[in-house]
C-alpha cells in the first residue's frame, strides 16, 4: 500500500511540475542559470529574460542553486541542461574560475555559452581550452569609481570612511572595491578606517557595521559593495541612534535601496540594470543560436542613483 502511495505521489508531483513543457515543442530552448533567486537582482534579471523570451518566441528555463555560493550545484544544473540539450546557456557564474569546467562541457556539447553579470576568469578559461560567446554585464570597476567619487565629493575630500566588502575572491565585489579605491586615491585626506566583509548579506551587514561603529564611532560614511549589506548598515546606524550622521552608499539600486534613498536614509546607490541584462542575454542567445556574429562584450548601462 505504502509503496503504491509513494509511486502515486512522486508521479503526481512530477506531473504537476510538468506544465508548460509540452507547449514548447519546436521552439528553441534557452537556459538562464543564475547565482540564486534569494536576491531581487536576479529576480529582476529573470523577469527581463522572461519578457524577452516571450517576444522572441522561445522557451526559457531559468534555474539557480539554492545557495548563492554553491558553484558545484550550479555546475550540476549546467550538466543537467546539457543533457536536456538546450540550444543556448546564459550563466551568471557563482565562481569565476570554478564555473570553467562546466563551460568546457557545454562547449564539448556544442551549446553556446553566454556569460552574464560576473566575468569568467579568462586565464582559467584559456588554460582549459574553453570559450564563451560573449559577456553581458556592467563595468563594476566603473561603478566602484562612481561611488568613490560621490562619497569623496560629499565629504569635501576629507573624512573617515568604512567599507563593507563582498565575499573575497568574488570577481564582482573585487572589481567594485578596486574602482572605489582608485577613485578615493585622488583624495588623500579620505581615510579608510575599516574594510571588512559582510558576505553580501543584510544581517551580516548589520552586525559588521555595528561592530565598526563601536570601534570607530567617528566614521562619516560607508560604502557597501551591495545594497543588502548597505541596508543592514542602515539598520545598525539607526539602532545606535546615528541616523543622518553616517552617509551610506550601496550598490545595485534594488527596490528597497531606492526606497531608502527616497526616504533619506541612504545617500546613493549604483544602479546596474539586471532587467536589461536579462533581456540582452536572451537577445544575444537568440543571435548565437542563429549563428550571427556577436561582439565579445556587451556593456549594460550603469549609473548613480541619488535623491
Amino acid at each position: 500500500m505504502k509503496k503504491i502511495l509513494i509511486l502515486f505521489i512522486s508521479t503526481a508531483l512530477l506531473f504537476a511540475c510538468q506544465r508548460g513543457e509540452k507547449t514548447a515543442t519546436g521552439r528553441p530552448v534557452v537556459a538562464l542559470v543564475m547565482k540564486t533567486l534569494n536576491n531581487p537582482f536576479f529576480i529582476d534579471m529573470q523577469a527581463g529574460a522572461e519578457e524577452a523570451a516571450e517576444q522572441l518566441q522561445f522557451k526559457l528555463i531559468a534555474q539557480a542553486p539554492e545557495r548563492e555560493l554553491d558553484v558545484e550545484k550550479q555546475m550540476q544544473i549546467i550538466e543537467n541542461l546539457i543533457q536536456r540539450k538546450v540550444d543556448a546557456i546564459c550563466v551568471a557564474p557563482s565562481g569565476s574560475r570554478e564555473i570553467v569546467p562546466a563551460i568546457v562541457k557545454a562547449n564539448e556539447a556544442g551549446i553556446p555559452v553566454l556569460v552574464v553579470d560576473t566575468r569568467v576568469d579568462s586565464v582559467s578559461l584559456q588554460q582549459a581550452g574553453g570559450f564563451v560567446t560573449t559577456f553581458i554585464g556592467s563595468d563594476n570597476i566603473d561603478g566602484g569609481r562612481l561611488a568613490g567619487r560621490f562619497i569623496s565629493e560629499k565629504l569635501n575630500g576629507k573624512g573617515k570612511i568604512a567599507i563593507l566588502e563582498g565575499i573575497p575572491g568574488h570577481e564582482t565585489g573585487d572589481a567594485r572595491l578596486t574602482g572605489f579605491h582608485q577613485a578615493i586615491a585622488d583624495y588623500p585626506q579620505i581615510e579608510i578606517v575599516a574594510s571588512q566583509t559582510a558576505n553580501w548579506e543584510r544581517d551580516q551587514g548589520y552586525n559588521v557595521f555595528q561592530n565598526i561603529l563601536q570601534s570607530h564611532p567617528e566614521v562619516q560614511a560607508v560604502f557597501a559593495c551591495n545594497d543588502m549589506m548597505a541596508l543592514g548598515a542602515i539598520e545598525a546606524i539607526s539602532a545606535s541612534g546615528k541616523t543622518g550622521r553616517v552617509m551610506v552608499v550601496g550598490f545595485d539600486a534594488i527596490t528597497d535601496a531606492r526606497d531608502a534613498i527616497a526616504s533619506g536614509t541612504m545617500a546613493a546607490s549604483i544602479a546596474q540594470n539586471p532587467r536589461e541584462m536579462g533581456r540582452l542575454a536572451m537577445v544575444y542567445a537568440h543571435k548565437a543560436i542563429q549563428k550571427d556574429t556577436i561582439p565579445p562584450t556587451i556593456p549594460v548601462k550603469i549609473e548613480l542613483v541619488r535623491p
Binding site: K2, L7, C17, Q63
Partner: protein, 309 residues
C-alpha cells in the same frame, strides 16, 4: 540488525521516481544522463557514508561541509606548492581524518554532545579554511590531478568508481567486522555496549575519524571537479548528507540503518535534482519538492516500521 525490508521500500520509491521521469522527459533515461547523475551524486553519497556510521551510533556530524572545505584548501595549497598529487591527496585526507578524530575526542573524552562539538568544529574548520586562504579560492591544477574527476574507466567517470568502492568497503565494514557490530551496539544501547566490554570511546572516535576522512575524500573529488578549492565550499552539505542517510532509512535515534539504504537515499536526491532540472522546474518549486520527499520518506519509513511491530 540489517533491515532489508525497509531498503526495499526506498528502492521502490527510487524506481517509481525514475519511471515517472522516463515518462515525462526523453532526456532522462539515457546512458549519458544516468552517468551524469551518478557523478553528481558521488560527492554527497561519499559524505553520507560517514554520516551513516555516525548516525547509527546515535550521533550527528554537522562539520562535514566545513571539513570538506578545509581539506580541500589545504590539499590545493599543497598541490600549488609543487608537491606530487598523490601526496597532496594524502595530506587532504589526513586533514579530514584529523578533524574527525578531534570531533571524536571532544565527544568521548570531553563528554560533549555530538551536536555541540561538531557544531563547534563546523565553525572552527570553516574559520581555519578562510584564514588559511585569506578567503580566496585556490585554483588551477595539473591534468593528472584533475583526472580524478574527469577520468573515465570503461566510460564510467572515476568519481563514480570511487563512490562504488567506498560503498562496497563501507558495507563490508558495517556488516562483517567488529567495527560495524560495535557501531550498531553503541547506537542501540551505549550503556549495554560498555558493560559488555566494548571500548565505546575508541570505536566512537574511529567512527568520527572515518566521517572526517570521507569528507576529505569528497573534497578531493570536488576540488578536481571544479579545478578549484574554495574556503566557502560545502556550506550546508551536512544537511544533504543527513537527508540522504535519513531517506535511506537510518534512524536518528541510532542503532539501525544501512549503507545500501544511504546509497538509495543519495540517488533519490540526485535523480530528483536532475529530473527537476531536465523538466525546467522553477528553483523555488525544486526546494519544496526535495523537502517534501524527505518528509514523505521518513513518514513512510516510520509507518512501515510500525506495521512490522
Amino acid at each position: 540488525m540489517i533491515y532489508y525490508g525497509r531498503q526495499f521500500g526506498t528502492l521502490i520509491g527510487l524506481l517509481a521516481l525514475c519511471l515517472a521521469l522516463w515518462i515525462l522527459t526523453p532526456h532522462f533515461l539515457t546512458v549519458s544522463n544516468l552517468l551524469n547523475i551518478a557523478q553528481q551524486t558521488s560527492i554527497n553519497a561519499i559524505i553520507a557514508v560517514g554520516m551513516t556510521f555516525v548516525i547509527i551510533t546515535a550521533g550527528i556530524d554537522l562539520s562535514v561541509g566545513s571539513i570538506l572545505a578545509l581539506s580541500g584548501v589545504v590539499m590545493a595549497t599543497t598541490l600549488k606548492a609543487g608537491v606530487p598529487w598523490p601526496i597532496a591527496v594524502l595530506v587532504g585526507l589526513l586533514v579530514g581524518f584529523f578533524c574527525g578524530i578531534v570531533n571524536g575526542f571532544l565527544i568521548t573524552r570531553g563528554k560533549l554532545p555530538p551536536f555541540i562539538s561538531t557544531l563547534g568544529m563546523m565553525s572552527v574548520a570553516r574559520g581555519v579554511a578562510l584564514m588559511f586562504t585569506e578567503g580566496r579560492p585556490v585554483s588551477g591544477f595539473s591534468d593528472q590531478f584533475r583526472f580524478i574527476a574527469n577520468g573515465e574507466w570503461f566510460h564510467v567517470p572515476l568519481p563514480v568508481i570511487v563512490m562504488i568502492g567506498v560503498y562496497l568497503l563501507a558495507h563490508f565494514l558495517l556488516t562483517r567486522t567488529k567495527l560495524g557490530r560495535y557501531t550498531y551496539a553503541i547506537g542501540g544501547n551505549e550503556e549495554a555496549a560498555l558493560l559488555s566490554g566494548v571500548n565505546v570511546n575508541f570505536y566512537k572516535t574511529v567512527v568520527y575519524g572515518l566521517c572526517g576522512l570521507l569528507s576529505g575524500l569528497a573534497a578531493v573529488i570536488l576540488t578536481a571537479r571544479l579545478n578549484s578549492a574554495q574556503p566557502i565550499a560545502g556550506i550546508m552539505y551536512e544537511l544533504d548528507a543527513i537527508a540522504a542517510t535519513v531517506i535511506g532509512g537510518t534512524s536518528l535515534m541510532g542503532g539501525e540503518g544501512s549503507i545500501v539504504g544511504t546509497l538509495i537515499g543519495a540517488l533519490i536526491m540526485g535523480v530528483l535534482r536532475n529530473g527537476l532540472n531536465l523538466l525546467g522546474v522553477s528553483s523555488f518549486i525544486q526546494q519544496t519538492v526535495i523537502g517534501s520527499v524527505i518528509i514523505l520518506a521518513v513518514l513512510i519509513d516510520m509507518a512501515l516500521k510500525k506495521q512490522k511491530k
